[in-house]
């Protein structure tokens, strides 16, 4: 960008409507904040831009607690730099003063490095001047700029580009069948050879919306690494954090045990495994079944929802129709019915024995709650005896 210093608007750093970046330069860390500083980076700008977004990723990040966003922007998380947030959803300034933040980043005038977090799909051809699918202010010459154009202008010098949510990572719903906006993902747009100023390819935190803490934790991990404290976080071949997306939903699912024993929910609301209602958990890479959605609460199958594959590049079209049973289930669920069914019955026999104290052997249980007394059958007793005899051979072994 050819810019002459004289044509730049001047802003008063005391003016609440001045660009966030201008106001930030005056800000002196509070004593509490300074005391928590543990690495070379004191401050980092987080420039949040959007394309074909719904704000859902923003809402999800607000819900994060590891760490919570209000502590991060106050610089009150030990070891982490203060995060100066430039986000259209919270900025006090509007209009040209807001886009001036972006122009300052492009001109290299920020007093700290900047990260780009991109939410929503990228409208690939959105700089054509024919009318944009996402207009984001104007350039100094009065030409309308699109958010896509700002991504191409800011990505080369960004410390890192993080694509939050499945739309940003892969294209998501706007890029699905019926895509009229030329929607694609950030990696598709910046292409394979893209490296940030720190040499990092695009980092992807997929999900629709993602779990807020998945983003926060990854961002905090990267920042701790840059501070010389944490290890380098590991990413897979699609730029996903490995510790988050390395396993399937099903492996960590609270209903996984039902699958193992071949018990399946037949209607919504039932507590068993959901694969026969259309759950794609066994093949989808996501941790929501372990982490929950907000502060450990919620989560799809944790509560009762089928997995529709929202973290995956194939979402949504390769998982639709969502309410039909995934074809692979026919084989795997039948197998688990046969073998799991047998295992479950054996476990029930053992469990019956373990529900009896030594004192109660051969007698009624002393519980007033028991409406009728069930005693092991003769064959069950024999099984219990053999089972315990075998168990006892392990003593000292």
């Amino acid at each position: 960008m050819a810019d002459t210093a004289g044509s730049r608007p001047s802003y008063d750093p005391q003016d609440p409507f001045a660009p966030t970046a201008v106001r930030s330069m005056l800000q002196i860390p509070s004593p509490a904040e300074a005391g928590l500083r543990m690495g070379p980076i004191e401050k980092i700008y987080l420039i949040w831009l959007a394309g074909g977004s719904c704000d859902g990723c923003t809402v999800a990040v607000v819900a994060a607690t590891q760490p919570p966003v209000e502590k991060l922007i106050a610089g009150l998380v030990p070891g982490l730099p203060r995060v100066e947030l430039i986000h259209p959803g919270v900025a006090l300034e509007a209009g040209a003063a807001f886009t001036e933040n972006l122009a300052m980043a492009e001109r290299g005038e920020l007093d700290a490095p900047y990260l780009i977090v991109w939410e929503g799909s990228v409208f690939e051809n959105d700089s054509s001047g024919e009318g944009a699918f996402y207009r984001l202010g104007q350039d100094r010459d009065g030409r309308t700029t699109s958010s896509t154009e700002w991504l191409s202008r800011l990505a080369p010098n960004a410390a890192a580009v993080v694509a939050i949510g499945s739309c940003a990572a892969w294209g998501g719903i706007p890029a699905a069948q019926g895509n009229v906006t030329g929607s694609i993902g950030v990696m598709d747009f910046l292409e394979r050879d893209y490296r940030s100023a720190l040499g990092v390819p695009v980092v992807n935190i997929p999900g629709c919306s993602p779990v807020g803490d998945n983003f926060m934790e990854t961002a905090a991990g990267v920042l701790l690494f840059l501070q010389g404290m944490g290890p380098l976080p590991e990413f897979d071949e699609l730029g996903r954090p490995v510790w988050i997306f390395g396993e399937t939903v099903h492996r960590r699912c609270p209903r996984g045990g039902y699958y193992e024993e071949g018990i399946f929910a037949e209607a919504y609301g039932e507590k068993e495994c959901l694969v026969e209602l259309g759950c794609w958990g066994p093949v989808v890479q996501c941790n929501i079944s372990e982490r929950g959605m907000v502060n450990g609460i919620g989560g799809c199958m944790n509560i009762g929802g089928i997995c529709i594959g929202c973290t995956m590049p194939g979402f949504p079209d390769k998982f639709a129709p969502f309410y039909a049973v995934p074809p692979g289930t026919l084989v795997s669920a039948t197998t688990s019915r046969v073998f799991g069914g047998f295992t479950r019955r054996m476990r029930e026999v053992t469990q019956q024995d373990k529900n009896i104290t030594g004192r109660w052997e051969g007698k009624d249980k002393p519980s007033g709650w028991a409406r009728f007394q069930s005693r092991p059958t003769k064959s069950a007793k024999l099984v219990h005896k053999l089972y315990r005899a075998y168990q006892n051979t392990k003593i000292g072994n």
């Binding site: 609440p16 704000d55 859902g56 809402v59 106050a74 919504y268 929501i288 502060n295 929802g305 997995c307």
Partner: protein, 567 residues
């Protein structure tokens, strides 16, 4: 926010030459809104003389829904908005229930009402603290209206014992974005509400447990009790927010009476109503009956007169115009579910085709379409919802909420602070500050509507009515459905046409489509534009630079969400 001097056609116009601050204020991009919005206002220095609100982005959700399995519209179109995805999913569910002629079991309806009222709490609370309050924060007031700031510093806050801010200036300090007490306290409080939504809808944003006619959350005693403890933990926040906004608004009216006309427009509202009774059935023939049983009622008010409270009439007279929007219209069919004819421009009779172009205020300038009701310009905000509620005589009997005809009395239970009755009164005028006050009281209203339904949920559990789902029977032939519901912000509707199990047309109109709409076919401005035009400039800044704060306050009072609006 650059200000360019206005070209004066008549240099001898003395009154104009005395107002050097006039000109165009370009709030593009407008910040602290959902999605992308750009607003351009023209002022003569004392008031706003013209305004254009432009929806600045588009993703094509109506097209993305086409040709899909009918059931799949729920998870697809709900993703149009991350603030109120649950409301869009519920609205889509209603459209399908009508199309499939399904009747969800009482427990499913109850869970839906609880989750949805809770989502409204979140939308109100987040809007007030994160988007609206910064317009009244200390640094902004001190910079734009030094005289007002001087008064604020000595003005005692009458509700100090409730919200803890000694003076109005303290309260304004609390409203500072990112660091103020109100801002930083709302985030954890909001997180608790997000947990509450997640308990019933699995995930927030974008719920994962709904299917047509069904809420799939596996219920146990723990679900209701965990929800209940969080609801109780939230009641003090509700008392504080009502007191805080009451104090601020009373101070502003007293300190400068121009706040009375800031963002004023006629009392013309449209609401579809929401939060169903557990025993209700949603059918096209029974829309009126269904609407009457809703905790937040449907209705249309024009200039303060209630035109109808029948949901069928609210629906029948809606039309959508695209004369100043980036769309072409394709007409398709002209009749409703019964075969009766619908007015030209009714969403069931047409589809919008995207036609990107440069912004041109004489021609197309927005990705937002312009819906009208019976030709009237109508807004849909929490203010309209409370107004229609206060004046109804059939509010269901309950332990917490009373509609008196001129007010709503809401009993907010005890927690650390004592049991309090908060009373929202019908205001004398519809303006920016009354919209915000309704948002604050809207938290109490939504919260206690959730409590009313939670008690019904306990009752269903006691009597063993635990069914949450019904089997799906998808019609093979042509089918139609409309979901009429509300987000926290107001009206939300989805129109569906299907054939052979697939979607053939899908149309969405939400509160912000109405509120942020551009000019219509007759050139009449949308509600937000209308509220801006003639609104006073209260800013005292010296020199010839205006920050546009007065316009921002008007815009934020509508809580515009362009994700919903443009889809």
């Amino acid at each position: 926010m650059s200000t360019t001097p206005q070209a004066l056609s008549d240099p001898s116009d003395a009154s104009a030459s005395q107002k050097p601050r006039g000109g165009v204020i370009d709030l593009d991009p407008m910040t602290r809104v959902g999605g992308a919005l750009g607003v351009r206002v023209t002022t003569d220095g004392t008031r706003i003389t013209d305004a254009h609100a432009a929806g600045n982005f588009f993703r094509g959700y109506e097209t993305l829904a086409l040709k899909r399995d009918l059931r799949d519209v729920m998870p697809i179109v709900s993703r149009a908005c991350g603030w109120c995805g649950g409301a869009h999913m519920t609205t889509a569910s209603l459209a399908l229930e009508m199309a499939f002629e399904m009747r969800p079991p009482p427990m499913a309806i109850g869970m839906r009402t609880i989750a949805q009222a809770t989502e409204a709490i979140w939308v109100h609370a987040a809007h007030l603290a994160v988007r609206a309050a910064p317009d009244y924060c200390a640094s902004v007031v001190a910079k734009t209206t030094p005289r007002l700031w001087a008064k604020a510093r000595v003005a005692k806050a009458p509700g100090a014992s409730i919200h803890g801010y000694g003076t109005i200036a303290d309260l304004m300090e609390g409203m500072t974005p990112l660091t103020g007490r109100y801002w930083t306290e709302t985030l954890p409080a909001g997180r608790r509400v997000q947990e509450m939504i997640s308990m019933f809808y699995g995930k927030f944003p974008h719920p994962s447990v709904a299917a047509p006619g069904t809420v799939a959350a596996t219920l146990s005693w723990a679900t209701f009790t965990e929800y209940f403890t969080r609801l109780v933990a939230s009641v003090d926040y509700v008392k504080q927010v009502c007191a805080l906004w009451d104090d601020l608004i009373a101070f502003l009216y007293e300190a400068d009476e121009r706040f009375l006309t800031l963002g004023q427009r006629p009392a013309s509202f449209i609401h579809a109503g929401c939060w169903d009774d557990v025993r209700s059935a949603y059918t096209y023939e029974g829309l009126d009956e269904n609407g009457r049983a809703r905790l937040a009622p449907p209705g249309v008010m024009i200039d303060g007169n209630i035109e109808t409270r029948n949901l069928s009439e609210v629906h029948a007279h809606i039309t959508e115009h695209v004369d100043h929007s980036f769309y072409d219209i394709e007409v398709e069919g002209g009749h409703d579910r019964r075969g009766d004819s619908l007015p030209d421009g009714h969403p069931w009779t047409q589809r919008n085709i995207a036609r990107p172009a440069q912004r041109d205020e004489q021609g197309a300038y927005s990705w937002c379409a312009a819906p009208r009701w019976g030709g009237h310009v109508v807004e849909s905000t929490p203010l309209g919802r409370l107004w229609l509620t206060a004046t109804r005589d059939d509010f269901p009997t309950n332990d917490f909420i009373e509609a008196t005809g001129s007010s709503i009395r809401i009993l907010v239970p005890m927690n650390f602070q004592p049991e309090t009755i908060v009373e929202w009164k019908i205001p004398e005028r519809v303006n920016a500050l009354e919209r915000l006050r309704a948002d604050a009281y809207g938290i109490a209203f939504a919260g206690l509507c959730a409590a009313i339904t939670l008690l019904k949920g306990f009752e269903l559990m006691r009597t063993g009515e635990m069914e949450q789902s019904i089997p799906l029977d998808i019609p093979e032939d042509e089918t139609m459905g409309v979901g009429l519901w509300e987000t926290g912000r107001g009206f939300n509707a989805h129109w569906l046409r299907g054939d052979a199990g697939r979607v053939t047309n899908y149309q969405i109109i939400s509160a912000s489509t109405l509120n942020a709409s551009p000019r219509d076919a007759d050139g009449r401005p949308g509600p937000m534009e209308e509220a801006l035009i003639d609104s006073p400039i209260i800013e005292e800044s010296s020199g010839d630079e205006l920050t546009g704060i007065d316009a921002m306050r008007v815009i934020h009072s509508f809580d515009p969400c362009m994700n919903c609006a443009n889809h």
